[in-house]
Each structure stands twice: as C-alpha cells, then as structure tokens.
Amino acid sequence: MLGRTAHAIYWMYRYLERAENTARLLDAVFRMALTRGADAASEEWNSVLATLGIQEIYAQAYDEITGPQVFNFVLRDRNNPGNVVQMIEQARSNARMSRSSLTLEVWEGVNEAWMNLRDLLARPVRESNLGAVLTSIRRESTAVRGATYGTMLRNEIYHFARAGTFIERAENTARILDVKYHLLLPSLAYVGSSLDSSQWDHVLRSLAGDRVYSWLNAGRIDPRGIAEFLILDRRFPRSLTFCYGQLRENLAALAQEHGAEMPTQALLRDADIRLEALTIEEIFDQGLHEFLVDFIAQNLQISLAIGEDYRFTA
C-alpha cells in the first residue's frame, strides 16, 4: 500500500480514538461537577483543559472558567483548533483520502459519524443535552471500530489502523492519569480523603474502567490499585500494557507480512518488555508523574518511528 494511505489510515483512527476519549473525559468531569458547588466545579473543568493541553488558548479566548464554556470550547469552539468537530472532520478527511483501502461499512460509518456529529454540534451544547451529545460521540466511534473489526481484511491496512488506535489510546490514558496526580487535589492533605477517592473514581470513569474496577476490587477505591489497574493490567483494554501488547502484536504482524523487521519493532519490543517488568511500587518510587512524562515522550518516539519506517511522508 501507499505510504500516504497508511499515514491517512493511521491518523483516521487516532482522531476517532481521541474524539471518543475526549467525550469520556468530559462525561466524567460533568458528572463530578454536578455533585459539587460552582467554585469547586471550575477546578474540575480546568483539569479538562490541562489534560488536553489547551489551558493557554482557552485563557486567550475567555476570562472565566465555567462548565458550558469549557465543554463547548472542547467540543466545537473555533478558537480551539483541536475541538471534537475538527477531530471528526480530520478522521473523515483521512478516510476520504484512503477511501479505496476501507470497506464500504467503515467508510459509511465514518461518513455518517461526520454527518451526525456535525449536525449535533452545529449549535452550542447546553448542559441539558451534553450527556446525549457525548453518548453520540462515543457511539459513532464505537460503530466505526466495530465495522473495522468485523469487515476489514487482516492485512497491513488493518495493522496501521490498529496501530493508530493504540498509540492514541495509550497517550490518552497516560494524560488522564497524569492530570489527576497533579491537578485535582487542593493540597497533599487531601490525599486519601473522600474528595480524593471521588476524583479517582472520576479517572476510572473517564477511562471506562469504573465498573470493571469495582467488580475486581469489591468497590474499594485505592489510588495505588487504580494506577496499577490503568497502567499494568493486561486484561483492561485501556491500560498502557494492553495498548502496548496490541501495538506490538499488530506491528509484528506487519513485519511478518512485509518479511522484514524495521527499527520500530525493536523500539516497541523494548518498551513493552520494560513496561511489563515494572511493578506499581517501582512506578510510585520513581514518581507517577515522572513515569507518565517519560511514557508520553516514548510514545511519541514510537509514533514517529512508525511514520519513518513505513514512509508516511515523502
């Protein structure tokens, strides 16, 4: 396949995954904000901006942090070039560019997602319909993933699609975890308080892990246990180890199809082995934040290596 097409497929799935995770993040914060006063809630909304790395551009556009202002900024505001509408546009535009490499179902899924979400987000979103909007974003992304899983040939096209998905998901999980660690609590004195545990609950919820985690741990909220779950539990499809396991599998299949290994595979194998060998104690000894910063940097290196090795650009 063409390098440019592989590039487009890879980014199409990155954008879809990003849109979905952004919706999950908003949903978790929204639920949390509802249970707290306006002042406290603005902290939660600020954490969304921090997670997405858009605090500065938000501050340039608005003085105040309010829920509706923030979620509209994230979803559809033109002052935010990385809003969700743009993500969906980008996903669709990349799909259009690689149209002949996608099955009809996948293409229709992306095209419909674009049509539906564009209509849904044409006007400002109110608190009363935010939930419905976020559900739609999640569903559209899920539908495309389902069509991908159910109809695409398991060849290099599929492997690039999956690589995009898991690179993005790993990064999103790491970012969400990182923000919790640094931003949410007013001070260290709150560690272990009820506020603390509800915030951890929110992190779990952002990553669709709240129910599963409760089920596994009989409802006990424990930061270390949650971090371990989100980083190291290979059974959980949004954990870092799960993402890297899948990434490694897909890139190995790619190498097998091409009959040649590239530097990417070695890079990823090393990263995966290191991650696998870690314990949560080691991570906390090193510092969760430091660990996540390193992880995100390494994730970026792997993404660049994929683009380089498979000739994404001229």
Binding site: L2, G3, S93, R99, N111, M115, F160, H258, R311, A314
Partner: protein, 475 residues
Amino acid sequence: MGGSDPVFDEMHDANGAVRPAYAGYDKWLSEQDQSLLRRKGAEAESFFRRTGITFNVYGEEDAEERLIPFDMLPRVITGAEWRRLSRGIDQRVRALNAFIHDLYHRQEIIRSGRLPERLFRDNDAWLPQMVGFTPPGAVYSHIVGIDLVRTGPDEFLVLEDNARTPSGVSYMLENRETMMAMFPELFSRVRVRPVSDYPRRLARSLAACAPDCAAQRPVVAVLTPGIYNSAYFEHAFLADQMGAELVEGSDLRVENGRVCMRTTRGFKPVDVIYRRVDDEYLDPLSFNPQSMLGVPGIMDVYRAGRITIANAPGTGICDDKAIYSFTPEIVEFYTGEKPLLKNVQTWRCAEKDSLAYVLDNIADLVVKEVHGSGGYGMLIGPTSSKREISRFVKKLKARPENYIAQPTLALSTVPVFTKAGLAPRHVDLRPFVLVSPDSIDITPGGLTRVAMKRGSLVVNSSQGGGTKDSWVLDD
C-alpha cells in the same frame, strides 16, 4: 425555447401515448403506489449522502460537497437505436485517435488543406513535447466521452467530444446500483443491458496499453489531484473498483528511469497511469513549473516508452470547440467513410461571415468559449437579458476566435418526478468509450444528464443539473 421545432419527448408522443421503448417501464410504473415512490426518492438521496457520492463545486465557499440530484425515472434507449449509435461512436473515436497521431507526426490533414494550421498552432492544448512520439499501442485517447443530444426520433447529434479526462462514469454506475437496490423487480420485468463491468473493462483496457517493460500483470494507478478536486469521489471509486492504487503527485517519483510510487515497503514501479490531472500540471519540468500535482520528470520516462499515460498528454487538441466544427471532415479523412453521427451546426466566430451572422442572430443562438467547459463562459441567447447579451457581445468582438456559436437546439425531453407528477425535462447523453490497441469498447448507455429546472437547457452538474439511470434495452 428558441426555434419552432416541437420538442421531442422520448417517453410520450404528441398525443400523450407511451412510446414502445418505455412500454415495459410504464406498465410497471402504473402498478406502483405513488406515495411509496416518493419515499423511495428520499431514500435515494440519503443513500447518496451516506455513501459520500458527492462532488465539490469550484468557486463556492468551503468547497462544499454537494449531491447531484438523481431522478428515478430511467432514460430508455432501444437496442436498435443503440446499435446505430455505437457504430457512429466507434467510427468517431477511431478517427479522433488517428487525427491526434497525425497531428503529432506527418500532419497529412493540414497538407491536404482540410484543416487550417492556425487551429492547432495557436492552441494551448497542442503540446510540442508530443511531436514525433507515439504512445504505447498508438492509443492517445483511452477513455472518451461523447456528448450526444437528441432532437427527434432518429436525430442524435454530437454536441461535444471529451477526449481528455471525461468524468461522470461513477454516476452511471451508482445510478444503476441505486435503481437496482430500490426496484429489483423492475429489472426482472424489463431487460436492460448491464453496465456494472465497466471498471473491470477499464482495468483490462488500460492494462492492454501497458508499455513493453511492464510487469506480467501491469501495475495501474489512478492519479488524482486530491480530495478537494470536484471529481475526487469518482477517482477513489474507480481505483477501488479496478483494484488500482489511488495516487497523488507526491506519492510518485522517477527512479531508475521508471515512475515509482512510495509504498510502505519502498518505491515500486508503475506501468500505467490513469491520470485525472490536466496536462498542464502533469510534469513541472515540462509544463507548469508551479505544479504540485504532478511528477517531475514523468514526461522523460513517457517519451522513453517506459510508462503509459492515459489519456495521453496533448490529446486535448482534438476536442476543443474550434476543432469540433471540423470533425465531419476529420472522420471522412481518416476512415474514408461518411460520418455516421452528425454534428450540431456550428459557426466559427473566427471567420468573418460567421461572426457577422452570429452578431445578427445572437438572441437565438448559444455562444460558447472554444476552450470552456462545465457550462461556464457561455451565453444562451433566448434565455438571456439584453444586458447580458450586450456584455457578452463586447467579449465576443474583442476575441472572436475564442468563440463558436450554435443554434438553440430543441433538446429532447424525458419526464422527471416532480411534486406535481411527471414533467418533461431536457436531457443529454454521455456514452463512455474505452480504447485499446485491440478494441473499442462502448458501455451500453452512459450518463444521462437532465436539466432539473423547467425549460432549462443547461444539464451541467455544476449548474444544478441532475442525472438519470440510462437503459439500453436488451431487445
């Protein structure tokens, strides 16, 4: 409508009786629940939106994607009518290819005095780079679209030849798909010749034109300007259906004397390029140096006979409107036969007497730019205001050689579905022809374009025209 000829409706005769070609369809139609049909119409639109069968309109904000309106009532051509048309198309396409070859070689037609030399010397479509060079298989125009209009029971006229990069074939295919999905039982009652194998035939025809150095199974790629091009959907659609790669200029480069595409495993040679990029943008080293759409050096590879470009560069010399007026002579010169398909009467404004006639009768004529396309830059006398006409006359007088004029034709009509029931609308027809060294292959039917506004003669999709499924009866 200008002229006094009555308009020929292809479905109903002057007394309102259904003509034989439409008998099968009409019988089926009379048995249908009308409100159900209307619902189906809405269904078709959402089907097109969902599948992304849209085109981009130039000059509009945001390069918005639009749907071409689709009308559910098919346009029907009998087997006998089609056989006659096919012979004429076959003859015309053979002549056009021979004509291009001659123009870039010995120029017998000029020497014989049948065609003035200035016609191609001052023509931007004429490419000196092609002189003395013969493309693989000696085919210049591999894919041709001949625009036909009908003015009476036996009167089919050629309105225009599209020998460069005719578009619209994806609509021909999707219109049939849509009709078959909506009304499967209709196709078991009326026998219609299939069109769905067009992409396979296209792939075969292109492969048959591959250069000698080609792989056993030639590698074919479709070259597109990219997703913002108005016909991008069609480029992707054809590549997909042919199993060919859809490439952009930035995917290609010249390596070891071959044109190669950048794949995830390195650069791989391409044997045949079906390009949907204009000549001017094909090679920044040979043509427009600003072009980002083309491949630097591709013309050198081409002239070395190591790639096939379809259609060949310089093919446009045969299809501009000034040359068009000479096609009867061209057909006769190269085939030695009388032309089977007639042209529309054409005045060349470059000629003094013709210009005088055109200026005197402009209110009844259609005046077109010689190099224009897509319905832009033309004047339709009978439907234009005095001011529009006087403004156009100024342009015409300033550069008469840039224009031709034709009578306002009484184009045939076919009914379309409207809120108030069936109503006649003007149509044309673009059959698609595939040319290879072994064969000239004409897909039965083609693309019927229909002016959706009452009385309008402009069928171009960029100007609000729609399309219909076109049937050739298997009778």
